[in-house]
Amino acid sequence: MSRSFKGKPILPGNLEGEALVTHVGFNTYASFYTSIHAQVEAAQCADSGNQELHGKNLTDKIICLPQTIGSTSAGAVWQRVAQMGVAPKAMLFSQQIDSLAAAGLVVADVWVGKRIYAVDQLGDEFLESVKDGDRIVIREDGTVTIR
């Protein structure tokens, strides 16, 4: 049975993809640290502090998270992973998007021309419902459906 949630579209669009879920803050710099310093075809999460994501492939996934945390370098990290073609497809925030994620995702969108779709304020229930591997459908108006 599918469930739908309504959030606020930050970088809107229509797409489908596979969910990858973290219930703790997504540390952008720590997660992409090894990927941005090497020529890789896919980004494996390098954040050993995140037991849910460590070692998993982030590229082309739809990351479901509360917020991002960590270094302010995150702004540049998003641009870099977008440029390298190893970014996630989308970021779905249960809370309000934090300033570091907002900065980085917008910079990637405007300066690289690569949209990493983003919806925020999807609520705690969304994060409790979604599981790794779930099929996710995102609509331009911020509606997110877990199939």
Partner: protein, 437 residues
Amino acid sequence: MADLQNLRIKLTEQERDILHGKQGPTMQKVMKTVALYGEALAAERLVDIGGAGHFAIPWCTPGIAPPLEMLDELVAAGLKTKHPFTLDPRAPLDFENLSLRPEQEQTLEQMYRDQARYDERMLQLGLRDRDAYTCSPCLPEVGNVPKRGTVLAWSESSCVIFANSVLGARSNRNGAIMDLLSNIVGKTPLAGLLTDEGRGATWLVEVRTAELPHPQLLGAAIGTKVVEDVPLIVGLDRFLDCRLSEETLDYLREMGAACATYGAVGLYHVENITPEAVDWGTDLLVPDHTTYVIDDQELQALRASYPVMWADGEARPERCFIGCPHLSLRQLHWWTNRIHNSLQARSQSRLAVETIICAAPRVLQKFSADAKAHERLKGAGVRLSGTCVETLFEHVLGPEDAILTNSDKLRAYSTARFFPDEELIEILVSGVIRGES
């Protein structure tokens, strides 16, 4: 969002003109980036930046800084920041002070091969001068000291928290690149820590230790607990000079750096000490705030939880890094005196562990002018550097290197072992870690 026709953020006529390209296509992109950022943060409008910037983008490393092509585009368009800015510490290329192996130096040279071109671009874009590199820009020798209430768009987390909390300026934790772009257009979103509402305290932190706690250990405890929220800290005024003496400022700078490292704290208030807490006291607390009590046991447990990350946990310490964040002039003299006295007490002339102390170039210049102190420190074998040693761990140092530090911040980002100052001095002089000799 991302649709410029349907923006909810209110833009002025001048801002809309820029957005429509009246100041050229590159400035149009800059404004678009800042406006969309404001929209994402649900800002009502943009506000003018009132003071110099401080950015976390000093190195040319891809993924850490804006790419050179982007800087070239900004420079070619004749753009620069509205106010001169300072940057985080220089890249670790002062090899004479870092005691690295040749292959490590080669790795860094390769990594930073575009650094000179990058530095020139930064000067063209508004970097204040060639010495304006430090993570302690608010020290008097460096002079990037915003006044209370000044709106800023800073990025380096340990500087944002100091400017907000201790100086009463107003900046959000802006991401790298957004810092530069915001300061070029001279605008930043009115949201978060720029608003009175965003500066209210959602945590009451009661410090109930018997003595003044180690600042970075206390900061780590607070950051871990409150994450991105704003704490009002009570109980520190028993130990600190409420008039914001140099010692108190150093303490708060170190504590804040750790708060920002272990959490995402951009602002704290300290009862009877920081400006907004002096004015409003416990009125800063929101009605449904949470309370967190920190006692000696809590801090001991936190320190005990730190794993030894050295490959050989019983290795003899080979190097020590002090100055993360960069030390003040007062702290440099404190270390000089303490090292000198400890060596004299043991009839030793040099430290047993190679030690590197980091501070801002302007602070190091002033310290070096005191020939007696400078010679004392050099004579003890200490090297001085203006770089950021944390970057060494990103590229050339790791668990195989038995490195010590007095910085809980550096510990979090590296494999270095943390010891409070007095314990560390004993190790530096003796060359052994007590209980492990």
